[in-house]
């Protein structure tokens, strides 16, 4: 597809060109201003660990890069005898998570997450798996807008998850790829992360600015680790650099400059908030339109999950057979797990999609 370029990004790009900056290397951990601003973005300006300088942060190649760098760090330090370090990911998760952590040298295990009966969260299964994992395991959580299901825990559930993880001394890694883009409110989308931090978890967070800033091709993201004190944060940053240098030496600056420009300029930031909210609202509107269409056609099935799920993707609940039928007969493309990209729906095609789904599901 042709991703939309945010107007605020065009403005930021112009500003940067005017500054006539040079192409000098950024430094292994990346642009310091970008790191500072992106950490404030996710942890909040008044975040205690941020103010006490005990969060180690590095610029990464978008979300993928953040996952890979953390994976290599954990693989180095998390070995138990001859056994590889493990990481638990939700079932299902973004397809690339598994090869990322495998290639980083870790073993990937899954925890219960999606319930195909309800097209919602298998909350009991998830808590059960958190409880039964060995103490001190690493758990990957999607901060918001779970990819691929669109199913997120509600805040009450997040509190229970936090307690369960704390009880087992697990390490939490939040993959945060949609802050601002999920609900339309970037503070709300970071709520789970901030709750964990408030509860004393020393989380790791991977941020991507591909979707919420539309900067897909620039590969801009960040990885941070909350530590006990500034000294430990310094040590962790040092170890992260040891992973980064033999991988690509230092990160590409263009995307970092753009994000930084937008985050630190109040006018641009305000514009971004509005544009991002617009994108999120459009998707919510599409969810509502699709659900209404199906209900209006008289479908006997429940389609509530379409509007209770959040973010770019929707696990419709269609079976593989239904997916294949809709592909060949109506030329609509779902992945075999029944997932569609909500971002692909528009006011001009949503009726057609609704009718097609109704045709194959009844």
């Amino acid at each position: 597809g042709k991703p939309h370029i945010l107007e605020v990004v065009r403005k930021a790009e112009k500003k940067i060109l005017e500054k006539n900056l040079n192409h000098e290397y950024a430094g292994i951990s990346g642009l310091p201003d970008f790191i500072k601003n992106s950490l404030e973005f996710v942890y909040g300006n008044d975040s205690k660990p941020l103010k006490s300088h005990r969060i180690a942060g590095v610029q990464t190649l978008s979300g993928t890069g953040a996952c890979r760098v953390l994976g290599e760090l954990l693989a180095n330090f998390g070995k138990i005898g001859n056994n590889k370090a493990q990481i638990f990911v939700p079932n299902p998760t973004w397809g690339n998570h598994i090869p990322i952590f495998n290639n980083a040298g870790m073993e990937v295990k899954k925890y219960c997450y999606y319930d195909p009966i309800t097209c919602g969260l298998d909350f009991e299964g998830m808590i059960r798996d958190i409880d039964s994992a060995p103490n001190g395991s690493t758990f990957l959580l999607h901060a918001c807008a779970h990819n691929p299901t669109g199913v997120d825990p509600n805040f009450e559930q997040w509190k229970i998850i936090s307690n369960a993880i704390k009880a087992k001394n697990h390490i939490t890694f939040f993959d945060c790829a949609y802050q601002g883009f999920a609900s339309g409110d970037s503070e709300k989308d970071a709520a789970a992360i901030r709750h964990f931090v408030d509860e004393g978890h020393q989380v790791a967070v991977g941020q991507s600015f591909a979707k919420n800033f539309g900067l897909y091709g620039e590969r801009i993201g960040a990885l941070s680790v909350v530590c006990s004190d500034p000294e430990e944060a310094g040590k962790v940053e040092s170890q992260l650099k040891l992973v980064i240098r033999p991988m690509y030496s230092n990160p590409p600056v263009h995307g970092a400059r753009l994000v930084n420009e937008i985050l630190m300029d109040p006018a641009l930031r305000e514009e971004w908030v509005l544009e991002c909210r617009e994108m999120a609202e459009r998707i919510k509107a599409m969810r509502q339109a699709l659900r209404s269409c199906l209900e209006g056609l008289g479908s006997k099935k429940s389609w509530a999950h379409i509007t209770s799920q959040i973010g770019m993707f929707c696990y419709t609940g269609l079976t593989q057979d239904q997916v294949l039928k809709i592909r060949s007969e109506r030329h609509i493309y779902f992945t075999n797990d029944g997932r569609i990209s909500m971002a692909g729906l528009t006011s001009s095609n949503v009726e057609y999609v609704g009718e097609s789904i109704f045709q194959v599901t009844g």
């Binding site: 890069g65 890979r68 090869p99 033999p246």
Partner: protein
């Protein structure tokens, strides 16, 4: 990818017409080297379980990150050895030592070679020496992995700087890797613009290599940053811009050459008995001055001139 292949091999190179070069855009020269070692790891079936190791030879000395990239790219399944390169006593290129070490290298060892402007010594083999190196390596079935960080920046000419590659191709090597950086030659340091080129035996092998490279890249950073590559493409595909660039390469390399001449002149003036010819015999961004650790420390404390302990 097409344009960087042409830049390195020359538009008319048979290899390109035969489709035998697999190219991946990479994160600068480091990123290209890393992809190369990951590909070698997969191609050699290395794993912690099998206990076989890749034998990699780096020059002594070499860019310090080479060994780290080789280590991480092969997940530690590597044995790093060095081939002699710099003669500390005579302060010159140790060609005989290099050849001896290559002749003793086990079959299928990976030899990391600097295409031009050796980092950090500045010593490059002569044409004749490159021919002998190529013949030795062919006879011993060694695998060439060229690090190309300075094409065009060393002599000022893109063609001249790539001649060792053609010596190897003409010596009958049908497989090799070249990591390319555009940080220095295009001045795109922080955009992370580079490429890995893999010369294979056939078009289908090149396709297989491309596919494997994708499976390495996706779990590392998904896809490369677009900005630097867009700039490089805009430049390389525009005749006028490319011409301007070639002029600027000459300017940058001439400036460095003139600095070498001026430094050597000044040294010879103040130390007429001393031997400073190596300053202009060396090429590229760096010079192994021959200064010892004590000299370096004195320069730092007394004159606030900063150089690495190696001189």
């Amino acid at each position: 990818k097409r344009l960087t292949r042409q830049l390195l091999f020359g538009k008319e190179c048979e290899l390109l017409k035969e489709g035998r070069v697999a190219t991946a855009q990479a994160l600068g020269g480091t990123g290209a080297l890393r992809l190369g070692f990951e590909l070698l790891r997969i191609g050699s079936n290395l794993s912690n379980e099998s206990e076989t190791k890749l034998v990699v030879y780096c020059s002594e000395p070499t860019w310090p990150n080479h060994q780290k990239v080789a280590h991480d790219g092969t997940r530690g399944n590597v044995e790093i050895r060095t081939y002699r390169y710099y003669d500390k006593e005579k302060k010159c290129f140790d060609f005989e030592g290099m050849l001896e070490d290559l002749n003793a290298a086990p079959k299928n060892s990976i030899i990391l070679l600097h295409l031009c402007a050796h980092n950090p010594t500045g010593y490059d083999p002569s044409t004749e020496e490159w021919r002998k190196i190529a013949n030795s390596m062919k006879a011993n079935q060694l695998f060439p992995f060229f690090d190309n960080a300075y094409q065009g920046f060393c002599s000022g000419s893109l063609e001249t700087d790539s001649f060792p590659l053609h010596i190897f191709l003409n010596s009958g090597f049908d497989e090799m890797m070249i990591s390319c950086s555009y940080s220095k030659s295009l001045g795109l340091y922080n955009e992370r613009c580079g490429a890995l080129h893999v010369v294979t035996k056939s078009m289908s092998e090149a396709e297989a290599a491309t596919s494997t490279l994708k499976s390495i890249i996706r779990p590392m950073y998904s896809n490369p940053p677009s900005n630097g590559a867009s700039i490089a493409v805009a430049l390389l595909s525009d005749k006028e811009l490319k011409r301007q660039w070639e002029k600027e390469l000459v300017q940058m390399s001439e400036r460095i050459k003139s600095m070498r001449i001026m430094l050597q002149d000044s040294l010879e003036k103040h130390d007429p008995k001393g031997s400073w010819k190596h300053i202009t015999a060396q090429a590229g961004m760096f010079s192994y001055t021959g200064l010892r650790k004590e000299h370096v420390a004195l320069l730092r404390s007394k004159f606030h001139i900063y150089m690495t302990d190696s001189g």
